[in-house]
């Protein structure tokens, strides 16, 4: 349950994530929000003080996303631990906009140390900045995960609230601009049920991912794959089948991947970067001429 703590920098502790149905009731109810002009997000921190990296949950996630058991805890898995916090935020009065109609624009994660099954982690999410986008208002959510007081993982979720007139903040700039020559690396299928399967392991049961009828209610002709599933599926192909020490992955979501569908992974490793191994990649449609997402990857395998 969410319990309120002291104001100023508001901190909200989430010890027991609510049931998905409750979360979605909240998310849907949030559709009644009619904010005026939003100048800034209220500084608020949501915390899950003690979360254990559960072997069964990690394995279920890894299987759905294509990670092999020998890769250990997938670098994108900790993002799953932040999801209940994001949902609490969207349903709360701290988020000025409804959850529905908010688009996941980009996601950046950094892992500083190898994570192990059974690790006891503290998961924090705080509200970030506002950026102006041609299609609406961009806002960010910042995540920090620590182990024994030491940050081991952090991330930024960049979301776009469509249709906000006169958005505030600095102009939003794509972190992954520029033309890069990529080569077709692999093809993969996004099965019809992947939205439901990923929904179960991630907790993200947004109806636009679950089925064609539920997606149609929200204006999509078919269900669309979770952006973070597509990112994870591509990372499973790009990363070696061994545990990762440090990693940094920045992704920008471009177009929806309709389910069921076929996609192609395009990549180059001929790039320099901050860590020993670097790559740029895109997930494109089957033909390879339309990107679903574009990403930059840097990693070092665990010592």
């Amino acid at each position: 349950m969410a319990t309120r703590k002291k104001p100023a920098m508001t901190t909200i502790e989430v010890t027991q994530p609510r049931h998905a149905a409750q979360l979605y009731a909240g998310a849907l109810l949030s559709s009644r929000k009619r904010p005026g002009v939003v100048k800034a997000l209220k500084p608020v921190t949501y915390v899950r003080p003690a979360v254990t990296l559960d072997a069964a949950e990690v394995a279920a996630y890894a299987k759905v996303c294509g990670f092999k058991p020998e890769a250990g805890v997938p670098v994108l898995y900790p993002q799953m631990l932040t999801f209940p916090l994001a949902m609490e935020f969207f349903a709360s009065e701290h988020c000025p906009w409804p959850a529905m109609g908010t688009v996941h624009l980009a996601n950046r994660i950094r892992q500083h140390h190898k994570l192990n099954l059974g690790d006891l982690l503290r998961v924090e999410m705080r509200t970030g900045e506002l950026l102006a986008h041609e299609k609406g208002q961009v806002f960010t959510l910042e995540f920090v995960i620590s182990r024994n007081g030491e940050p081991v993982w952090d991330g930024t979720m960049t979301a776009l609230r469509l249709g906000v007139k006169n958005p505030v903040g600095e102009p939003y700039v794509s972190a992954l601009g520029g033309e890069v020559d990529l080569s077709c690396q692999a093809g993969f299928t996004a099965p019809a049920d992947i939205g439901r399967r990923y929904g179960l392991v991630s907790g993200d049961m947004n109806p636009i991912h679950l089925s064609a009828p539920s997606a149609k209610l929200f204006g999509f002709r078919q269900a669309i794959a979770h952006g973070l599933w597509t990112k994870a599926r591509a990372l499973a192909a790009m990363l070696p089948r061994q545990p990762i020490g440090q990693a940094e992955v920045t992704v920008e979501f471009k177009t929806p991947l309709y389910l069921p569908g076929r996609a192609t992974l395009w990549a180059t490793r001929q790039v320099r970067g901050s860590l020993p191994h670097n790559a740029l990649f895109e997930v494109r449609n089957a033909k390879g001429d339309k990107p679903h997402l574009r990403a930059q990857l840097a990693y070092a395998v665990a010592a």
Partner: protein, 437 residues
């Protein structure tokens, strides 16, 4: 005790390359689908005979082979000779050393000429993967053999009663795989690309250069006296003169599934396709050439063969040329940089790049080759300058003859110089040679 005069030790003679001939190479199951190995090799030999006016001549020997060979073709080369206008007194024999067949055949003929056993000879090779030998179902074959050994009718019927209908529909197909590892050659080469960290981009660039170089060579008329059109084809049909790097980038890796899932670098664009074709080269002593007024293009001077333990010590399957070349250089007293042309057979772009990387690698050269310092870099502008197998295609046994003839002509055009040939072969083998003028 009577002393018999020992016969004089044979003097070693220079071996001249007088020319070569091949039919255009064709991708498997295209224009040569219905041509047999014997058809193609006969056409190639006849073209050579026509070009050098060898009608009715008795040559010292014709040596060649095919990697994919039907049992009925046990005397493939001799049968081909009998179908040409060469003298029927020309002896011939078959040999086979996988993709090294053509070059090994040339070395064999060259050695006989060098020692004075013969004055002239033809070396070549042919392969078809379209007209592939399909065997009987192995169980059916065993049953038929058992039936044929049976002494009585009941025994025979008992044997034949074991025949099941599905045996007729499940023939034994030839496999493009290493018997000891079960991996295809492409899968082995993908492992090598991983071990040597060969980038996909570099492989595609090499493939593009191969097509561009071959296209330019055709435009310059380089092949006019090296090729006989066959079945209406005058150019290798794998050549893509308009190939772009974008097209190569768009091809999906095809050998990664077993060895490097979703992280492959070898694609149908930077690997050679299965190909049908044939080639032959005419070798002779200088005296034989002079007597017929045939100009010498170049001389075949050194060769070396190496093999590696690709399933025990886990050296890459196609790395044997990396071992063969330094041994040959040591015998010849040459360095890797003492060449004007490098003809490194492009089984896969990655094979070429792994070999070059190995020669530049300090640790490999010291620990694997036992050299004090690495062989070093080669000038890439001298590599496969008129295209190679990625563009032309690679009918296994025909590649050696294609390269020997090309290189001899390149040296003749240049006037003088030296060329290195390197060919990798199945079974972890490598055949290499030096051609000089």
């Amino acid at each position: 005790m009577t002393k018999t005069q020992a016969s004089p030790a044979p003097t070693v003679r220079r071996v001249a390359i007088l020319g070569g001939n091949r039919i255009p190479f064709a991708r498997s199951n295209t224009v040569y689908s219905n041509a047999s190995n014997q058809d193609m090799f006969t056409a190639t030999l006849q073209g050579l005979v026509d070009r050098f006016n060898l009608h009715g001549e008795r040559l010292g020997e014709v040596v060649g082979g095919a990697v994919m060979k039907h049992a009925r073709d046990f005397n493939l080369v001799r049968e081909s000779v009998l179908s040409t206008t060469l003298s029927r007194d020309t002896p011939a024999f078959d040999l086979q050393q996988a993709c090294g067949t053509g070059l090994e055949a040339a070395m064999l003929v060259a050695n006989k000429i060098a020692l004075g056993h013969i004055e002239c000879g033809v070396a070549g090779g042919v392969d078809t993967t379209s007209d592939a030998p399909i065997g009987l179902n192995e169980k059916l074959r065993k049953i038929l053999l058992e039936a044929s050994r049976a002494k009585t009718m009941p025994q025979r019927l008992a044997a034949l009663a074991q025949v099941r209908p599905q045996m007729l529909l499940q023939p034994a197909l030839p496999r493009n795989g290493e018997p000891r590892t079960g991996l295809s050659m492409g899968e082995h080469c993908e492992q090598m690309a991983m071990a040597w960290d060969i980038a996909r981009e570099d492989q595609d660039a090499l493939a593009l250069a191969s097509h561009q170089n071959l296209a330019r060579a055709y435009d310059e008329g380089f092949f006019t006296d090296l090729m006989t059109p066959y079945k209406g084809v005058a150019k290798d049909n794998n050549l893509r003169a308009d190939l772009t790097i974008e097209k190569l980038r768009s091809l999906k890796p095809c050998f990664d599934k077993k060895v490097r899932p979703e992280q492959g670098t070898l694609t149908p664009g930077n690997s050679t396709p299965l190909t049908d074709g044939a080639s032959a080269v005419l070798l002779a002593s200088e005296a034989w050439a002079a007597a017929r007024g045939l100009p010498v293009l170049a001389y075949l001077t050194f060769s070396e063969v190496a093999a590696v333990d690709f399933f025990g010590e886990k050296e890459g399957l196609l790395m044997a040329p990396a071992y063969a070349v330094p041994r040959m250089l040591a015998r010849a007293g040459l360095s890797l940089q003492d060449f004007d042309f490098y003809e490194i057979h492009e089984a896969f772009a990655a094979q070429v790049l792994c070999t070059l990387a190995a020669w530049e690698d300090k640790t490999f050269c010291k620990e694997k080759l036992g050299l004090a310092k690495p062989l070093g870099k080669i000038d890439r502008k001298k590599l496969n300058v008129n295209g190679s197998s990625l563009a032309a295609g690679h009918p296994f046994a025909a590649t050696g003859g294609r390269i020997v003839a090309n290189l001899a002509k390149m040296l003749e055009q240049k006037g003088s110089g030296r060329g290195l040939i390197s060919i990798c072969a199945a079974g972890g083998q490598g055949v290499v040679a030096i051609v000089e003028r």
